[in-house]
Symmetry: C2
Subunit: 270 residues, 2 copies
């Protein structure tokens, strides 16, 4: 019997490595297995059907590699596929296959902050899906959400373009500031990379919710409440990282986002 | 017998529609069939293996739809796959299947301009492949080529970001201007969209080679020299456009690049 049963982390590309770094810090003894779909990144502009197909295949693959728990770190994939995948892997039928997203824990953190005029930035698909709005209003129908698609941020992050982001961010954030938001959710794994520029543009009283800060404590809490999952996770503190396409640029960017040396292994999902 | 035998135009996404518009103007009576691989766009950052797989599948599909001639409008795909595909479809074995790229005709136009200090901008893959350099030095080994990867331009073009391009272009073009180029090749189908900003940054004596200007006359000339291909092409002046993924944004961007109303039809290649 293979005792390797890591927590799977799926992302459309490399952005989820920022979250992975935070997960490892929060749960240092757990094994983690990262899968980035660099063959198909970015997901944000694609159709619902395309995003679901890619996500379903990747999650299935991670279960096949022994993960008792898979976290969809990508907001676009979470917005599109999480509910459907959770219906597919019902705990009653698959007690050893859990899949979680990042949107609900992010919203819980935003609501807990006590503010009620929330701004959201994300990819074209994440915003158009309305998932954040639906989940937010389940918790509290009186909270206002002002959502803005910010499709240039992922390409800027992935092509050494962060230094060009300020005028882009200024245009994206202006309507949210004008709407009087008191909180801004960064609804994409890449966006913490723009934190400094975003902070400089927003009025000082606006709180920023970054997923690499708010989601890891939620995972710790989830595992505490679900010992049947926690006990299945193997605990040697390792990280393996798989990509569906590997180039030297992906290699370098991946190590920079993760903040450590890493050999990215190429895998074929089909 | 189906008489529909259009000229196939393949591109990794929507950028090839700029070229398609120019081809139709140059050869208005020919039928054209456009195929954009929007399910996998952008190709620029991906591995050679991934780009070849996508390109081979698309070209095969266009032949299957009756095209006697397929033009790979995407520079990244041309740089990667053209030679290998031309070896696969040797005229002796496949007299009714020709595949052409955009790099050699572009270089011929640059060399014909009589200048000898040529700059080139393109995607990460196009530049790293060295294809432009190899082809240029076959024609004239004394010409200097200064090549610069400009990976942010495609995402800026595809996400309504052209207005943010100037500082990015300034940084990209500065080393080429410092190297004393007298000509600049725009080595990507999207780049004519940045023509105005590029013109304002380059010194006035630097010539700009835009593929939507120089490639169509080369195709007219090719068809004149190859009546056996020209005669196979059906001539009702129609254009059909296929995409591997369709969204409302792709639909709107596609029509804007093409400059006419178009119904983009979704196709599955596998």
């Amino acid at each position: 019997m293979d005792p390797y049963a890591p927590i799977g982390i799926f992302d459309s590309g490399l952005g989820g490595l920022v979250m992975t770094k935070a997960f490892r810090k929060a749960i240092p003894d757990a094994d983690f297995l990262y899968l980035g779909d660099t063959l198909h990144v970015p997901y944000g502009p694609r159709s619902a059907e395309a995003i679901y197909g890619f996500t379903q295949q990747a999650v299935e693959y991670l279960f096949g590699r022994g993960c008792p728990l898979v976290i969809i770190a990508c907001n676009t994939a979470s917005a599109n596929a999480l509910r459907r995948l959770q219906q597919t892997y019902l705990p009653t039928a698959y007690p050893d296959r859990r899949v979680l997203g990042v949107i609900v824990p992010t919203i819980e953190a935003a609501v807990a902050s006590g503010h009620d005029n929330i701004g959201l930035i994300g990819t074209a698909f994440t915003i158009k899906s309305g998932t954040y709005e639906d989940e937010l209003h389940k918790l509290n129908p009186n909270i206002q959400l002002h959502a803005k698609a910010t499709p240039l941020l992922v390409p800027l992050a992935e092509n050494n373009g962060i230094q060009y982001a300020e005028p882009v961010l200024r245009d994206y954030l202006e309507p949210l500031v004008d709407a009087g938001i008191d909180t801004l959710i960064l609804g994409c794994t890449h966006y913490p990379l723009f934190l400094e520029a975003i902070r400089s543009i927003l009025p000082p009283h606006v709180s920023i919710i970054a997923q690499n800060e708010v989601v890891p404590p939620k995972l710790v809490d989830y595992l505490r409440r679900h010992p049947e999952i926690k006990d299945r996770v193997s605990k040697k503190g390792t990280l393996k990282a798989l990509l569906t396409d590997v180039t030297s640029t992906y290699q370098n960017t991946g190590e920079a986002l993760l903040g450590e040396v890493m050999v990215f292994e190429k895998v074929e999902l089909e």
